[in-house]
Symmetry: D2
Subunit: 357 residues, 4 copies
């Protein structure tokens, strides 16, 4: 079940240490300028090995478009993209061949499939998210033509929380920090965890602005439900919150309801979604990431033969997976919106008639 989306969909393939990872993006409207540099730049934002706050693994993550374009434009046919794996150090994983890493999918893949590619987590590796970013970049190209913008950033690392959310600032921050004032403290939290051979959790904030009213297909393909699906499916994501979400559950209706005026909503506790449909306000959400399960501290585990064992991981890992995860959240959000844009097109008879008559 490696496809996401209905009208604007993508299908991914590939393992961490296989030949390549890639995707097929299906449903791209014809006539869209496919800016390969933009796609590559989006990938570069997720790329590891760029600073002390991410894994030291070097992955070129150089994307190649194989189909679906002609003379620089989309043709309405599936757009396939491939990223060849170039920096696989499979030997890093020989020691975990017969062990299940705590917090990883090793245990569940083994029991489900009876076989697993243990090298770097195989299919379960966050490496696969690179192709989500590539697919998301194509979605962003579509959104850009409509002025819709998806932005993200880090609001919390461990217990260090942002007070203000500046998405423009986040773009240039090494850790995608939303709040300049806590950025150094957040960096310190990452480096301390790293120095302790440990990792640390974090929270991503996401904002989608300039959305038209009406996106989302109730009752079982609602905008918020699909965003929750998209975000919770990202490696290490453990909670998803729309608008004031968690805080809303502690409020009264009179406090939480967003009053409506001719100029718009007076507040945005709803996170821009009512009844599963965009209301024209900013869609805001948070995604909570657990700390990277790959740590260098020795842990208890069992072998594939069901014997108790100790495990000490080697290799290079992100001390805080939320940081690069924010770029993946953006990509997934863009993909959700692209799908909703196309699905929403036949919603009224008037719209259908305008298209055909």
């Amino acid at each position: 079940m490696n496809r996401f989306g209905i009208r604007f969909s993508f299908t991914t393939f590939g393992e961490s240490h296989g030949k390549a990872i890639g995707c097929v993006v299906d449903g791209v409207p014809a006539g869209l300028t496919i800016d390969e540099h933009f796609i590559q730049r989006e990938l570069d934002r997720r790329k590891p090995g760029q600073n002390a706050f991410a894994t030291a693994r070097k992955e070129a993550d150089s994307v190649e478009i194989l189909s679906g374009t002609f003379e620089g434009k989309s043709t309405g046919t599936p757009l396939a993209m491939i990223i060849y794996n170039t920096n696989e150090k499979s030997q890093d994983y020989d020691n975990i061949k017969a062990l299940f890493r705590p917090g990883h999918a090793d245990f569940t893949y083994w029991h489900k499939y009876g076989i697993r590619d243990y090298r770097g987590g195989g299919r379960a590796s966050a490496r696969e998210t690179a192709v989500r970013v590539a697919a998301g970049a194509v979605a962003k190209l579509l959104l850009n033509t409509l002025g819709i913008r998806v932005q993200s950033g880090i609001c919390s690392i461990g217990t260090v929380d942002a007070d203000t959310y500046d998405f423009s600032y986040a773009r240039q921050s090494e850790i995608y920090a939303l709040d300049k004032n806590v950025e150094e403290a957040q960096k310190a939290a990452v480096l301390e965890a790293k120095a302790a051979h440990d990792s640390v959790g974090g929270v991503v904030a996401l904002k989608i602005d300039s959305l038209p009213v009406g996106l989302g297909e109730p009752l079982y393909y609602k905008l918020d439900a699909l965003l929750a699906d998209a975000m919770m499916g990202i490696n290490a994501a453990k909670a998803v919150e729309i608008g004031a979400g968690i805080q809303s559950a502690r409020l009264r209706g009179s406090e939480n309801n967003d009053a409506i005026t001719k100029e718009g909503f007076t507040s945005n506790h709803s996170g821009g979604i009512l009844g599963g449909i965009s209301n024209g306000d900013d869609v805001t959400m948070k995604i909570y990431f657990k700390p990277t399960p790959s740590i260098f501290i020795e842990q208890s585990t069992i072998t594939t033969q069901h014997d108790d064992a100790r495990i000490a991981l080697k290799g290079r890992h992100d001390p805080c997976v939320a940081i690069r995860g924010s770029v993946v959240c953006e990509a997934m959000a863009a993909l959700v919106i692209a799908d909703m844009l196309l699905l929403n097109m036949g919603r009224t008879l008037e719209g259908v008639r305008r298209c055909y008559l």
Copy 2:
């Protein structure tokens, strides 16, 4: 887009004040004893008008099975269920015909479809969740034959939080409280909000136990992602958390990882899911509900003609939608698990061969 699920799926129809609501459950394995009394009892748990903590609306919610069974057993054909609407007081809604209720889907349905059944929220009404409970009851009948159990309860109402989670206790509590010790305080929070013509938010906890290892279809039909989709799609749900979710984001990896031993996992921060696949431990989650948007305090809004207006709701509404929402969460979880059980069946060649040879 009114279908949910792939192999064990359901499609719903109906509006709050139309003739009927109902569903078609597709993919029920043949030979399952369809206990209509059990289905009705599940509906009765969600039924309004039972005590001071829910809306005073009386809805019989009497379910009738129209197809898919023969001599008390499922036949493998679609099981349709219908609930006729009997207590519609449409006149309660005449005053909101041309107004958008804050916090409701009125505004978005109007803009998306250009037409809306304003009576009781029409399709966007939580009334539709009755059929989710009916469909979920069929899923539970399947789960029961495998010993899998889905349970839920209220952990928070407003700012009153449970300290202990006793799912057995919750079943008999009028507000489905998980913690007997805070139950009265939680009831008081509901009644205070009600007395103030207001409403209050709440949080539902959910537990699924005795699940086999291996449920969930990575990478884009993961168990946690589909549960998030299912829960976020419930009316008024605004956040979904798996396992230690939100807290995990503040922890270090060494604290958050669940060590593995021959006897099982030593903790369950993961909420029973690794890599989107069940690991055999209890699946635990929380769903955060906003306060009911229907309050009797006057609010600012606009008309369908885009003029400023004031709105004062009438009628009968739940002061805390999370309470009855917990029953819906259970139903949706059961439906997700039923789908995952069937999808997981062809995962290995060995399983396929055992089925056919």
Copy 3:
């Protein structure tokens, strides 16, 4: 798997001798006038018991709309329809309880599901096609607003073939005959088979005119492929032909290619479809129906206990299932086109931008 279609889809339920049959039509654009009389008239065209050429069973086939409309118009929410079964003579089937009727699905349902509702074929009965006609009528209401017309008729019964295809004439013919000149001979063929306690096969021709160019979603949701799917899924259909289909296979390219001129195609061997996409010409097809398997001549069969047996059917059956089948073909074609119309809407960036900007 009881759903058909992606954007304009329908899900059906119900058995021949259960309480009711019905469907949920999902994706109807909002604002469409839902003419219930039109829907009922379409059902009446398929209704049995109207003349000597169909089964004498009387089925009221009275359809009721349960949801999805408001003040006579569609609201964009699912439109459910129900037809209660009123004339079930279950005792007609007591003698076949433990027997498999040759040519019927009894044998396969029994082996697949281990249980079957033997009364009238249960779910496998052509009775279910009544709801396809109801759903198809809703699709036709949409097509009508765009001037698209779907018509059908009988071209062959047994070995009596039509020479000319007059779809207007077919509408008023008791056997939906396309050619007035062979109508009597075709009627005679039906009555002769009936008198011999036997049945006879037939062929339906279908024409869809005034289609826009561009319908069909290559490569795996092509217009011709989906039409073939839709038609082959109708009870007793055994072959589907697009355009000159079967004859084309005997021709040379220079004979079969439809030359293109500024005024259009000079011939229509393609049946209006090129590369799986409508080319603006009439879509033409034929559907070949086997003779009704229910005959009154004694036949060899086996029991559910795998013993040899003889079977002599009772009851009332269509001597030529193709006749009423033609109405079902029309309905399915309308449903396919409705789906294609909506799917096609996001095909170009220009179209997307025109919708949103």
Copy 4:
């Protein structure tokens, strides 16, 4: 919409003269030995340039597996395959840049998408069917482990029809002829058409044997309906017939019904499918192919500017597309059966319980 199948599905990408064509096969059960040589051999059977009866184009059609296997076995993750295009002579198509080739999809793609890759038909080229064959080979590997066999061959070329169907003979025939006695006449029909700068139609027969009873998911994912969908979606296919199909429409029920005995069915007019479900007998079908639309005789057409024009094709084309088409039919049939095998696994409670308890 470039995906086919639900549980065992594949998604394809690529244009005739782009960088590569390929596919992602999703749902392959884990533990299946992936024999790359077998996959390549299947591709070689479809490969052009092998004799006088197919196009002289040389395409290496060398397939590379990119993911989804580990140590030679499937892992349950998506299996991606790629075939790089190596022999594109784009200049062959410069003269048709602004012209629509009669019988081709040029006209419809242009009107649908407003842009097209005219080189060799782009996405609409039969070249894409190479990846169907690769995907089908993976499906065959699965079917082989269950003893299920899919075979095909040519029964007619132009007006030269086979009298006997010898599928073993067909495998070694240069034109996949089923009947040795008419093979030379069929070859002559191809060469005569070729010599006349023309092409000729043909008919493929397909047989699937050793199928278990019970495959097919009524009512809208029936085995025959999905086979019809799969076959009609193949380039140049214009009609699909199950069992005695077309002839059945001329028969009486007493002639057409297949009597049932303890030893099995006494005839197989049904083509092994009753009620959309396999009955254990051979599935037999025919697929009717139009003559290749690419001919060298000058034809009338119009330009993309809607002016009348004459077109004279160059390049290398198959004189009879049915021949290589037979290999594609086999592949598509294998893919349908693989999907049905997995979908059928949860059909009974007993089966579900046996899997989990």
